[in-house]
């Protein structure tokens, strides 16, 4: 009986890995900033949220994404609510893409992801600059966008493998 419960728990953990990674990434940002590589940074939660909202939206609940955004704001020091707003917008864009797509194509997703992060980041940083008097270093911001876009394809392949292993081949 105990062994059976352990297996159920392990199964639950494996299924919920994307949520766990999301919370770990907002609490501990996977961005390798400590390497101090000049101009290199990327936004991992954007990739994770977009991919899973597109491929299997029930994995990342909107409530969890909202909470993850709040935590991200607290850790980074942004006004509370701004990251949640962006994350949920990304979910909206992904849901829209899912609704209009008949035959999923990774490159189409990739370029739609670029459009999504351009819109959400523009909104986010416009709000920060106009209403919260933040000063930004625009070169860094653009490079962050570029690396986030480039790394999407890499993480998409990794998530695809996980998806196939855990949920089988079919997508939504």
């Amino acid at each position: 009986m105990g062994r059976f419960q352990n297996i159920t728990l392990l199964k639950k953990i494996i299924i919920n890995i994307p949520i766990l990674i999301l919370f770990v990434s907002v609490l501990n940002e996977f961005d390798f900033n400590y390497l101090e590589t000049k101009y290199f940074s990327f936004n991992f939660p954007f990739i994770l949220i977009f991919y899973w909202s597109l491929k299997k939206s029930e994995i990342l609940g909107y409530g969890y994404i909202f909470i993850a955004g709040l935590i991200n704001d607290v850790v980074i020091g942004f006004p509370m609510g701004i990251s949640s707003f962006c994350y949920l917008l990304i979910c909206g864009f992904a849901a829209y893409l899912r609704n209009i797509t008949l035959r999923p194509n990774i490159f189409q997703d990739w370029f739609f992801f670029l459009f999504t992060i351009l819109v959400t980041n523009s909104l986010m940083y416009s709000l920060l600059v106009l209403f919260f008097d933040f000063e930004l270093y625009y070169n860094n911001l653009l490079l962050n966008l570029l690396f986030t876009f480039l790394l999407y394809i890499v993480f998409a392949y990794i998530f695809e493998i996980y998806h196939k292993l855990v949920f089988g081949k079919s997508h939504d």
Binding site: L35, G61, G63, L88, Y96, I100, N140
Partner: protein, 290 residues
């Protein structure tokens, strides 16, 4: 064209308004709630402030625990890096130590003389009790240079207190919670500190760049600054006491902008390495009434 426009509207409505079977909350509802939080955050409401403090305390502690493995990797990375530079550092330090020994004797004399003279003109500034704090979170984000410290209002931390490392200024407290606080580093784009450049007593404003360097923004008067000039706090605005060392000038030039206005481009290297902060000293300064 009409059907495709309809499709677009249906897809948008379905994406944002329809609550999917397996989602507990509606997307548009949560988006509006995030915006409401943002708007309420602008006002100083007690309920919102308390909610913020609870979320912050929980997130900071959780982040510290979850950052454990990454901090371990980071530590190994820095250790390996410092081992490669060990011998060169040793030779340089040995040479510097000799010079410092001589300078310290001179400094001790000047310091005691300074205290005596300031007491005469009633401008002697004393420091509050030093509070040593540990750096809990240091994200090194390119957009916001700040660190979270493990001391808050319970340890009598107040907004605006100076944050020092080895007696070098590294930032100031910009957010205080019950058990934690956030220090904005001098390298942040939003950091503006009144400074004095010596020799020459040039008054100016030091601004962060988002990188590990600072820039001198405004000069009250245009004077030549040499590459060896040292930047201290000026004490203007009574935020910090004057004379806290910050960094040294590494390059100084004046460039002309598109509007043909002369713009200063003086870069400063900070004495403290902001990427290596582990423990900091938090102090407040006030005038001695005796």
């Amino acid at each position: 064209m009409e059907p495709s426009r309809d499709d677009f509207v249906i897809a948008i409505r379905s994406a944002f308004l329809n609550k999917s079977n397996k989602q507990r909350f509606s997307l548009i509802g949560l988006i509006f709630f995030s915006l409401l939080l943002l708007i309420l955050g602008r006002f100083n409401l007690t309920v919102i402030n308390y909610t913020k403090i609870v979320i912050k305390e929980t997130a900071y502690r959780s982040s510290f625990i979850i950052s454990g493995p990454e901090n371990f990797v980071k530590k190994i990375y820095y250790n390996i890096e410092s081992h490669f530079e060990l011998y060169d550092d040793y030779v340089n330090n040995k040479k510097k130590l000799q010079d410092f020994k001589v300078q310290k004797l001179e400094n001790d004399f000047i310091l005691s003389e300074n205290i005596r003279l300031k007491k005469i003109i009633n401008d002697y500034v004393i420091e509050s009790e030093e509070i040593i704090a540990k750096v809990l979170i240091d994200k090194k984000s390119p957009f916001l240079r700040s660190v979270v410290l493990n001391k808050g209002s319970r340890s009598k931390i107040k907004l605006g207190m100076a944050v020092l490392e080895n007696n070098y200024l590294v930032g100031k407290i910009v957010e205080v919670n019950y058990l934690t606080s956030r220090a904005l580093l001098l390298s942040d784009l939003n950091s503006k500190i009144p400074v004095s450049i010596e020799p020459g007593n040039i008054q100016s404003i030091l601004s962060g760049t988002g990188k590990n360097k600072g820039i001198i923004q405004y000069f009250k008067e245009e004077k030549d600054i040499t590459g060896e000039s040292i930047v201290y706090t000026s004490g203007s605005g009574e935020i910090f006491k004057e004379g806290i060392p910050i960094g040294k000038i590494v390059s100084s030039k004046t460039k002309t902008t598109y509007d043909e206005e002369k713009e200063n481009d003086t870069k400063i290297i900070f004495f403290s390495d902001f990427s290596q902060l582990q423990f900091v000293k938090i102090v407040a300064f006030k005038k001695d009434n005796n």
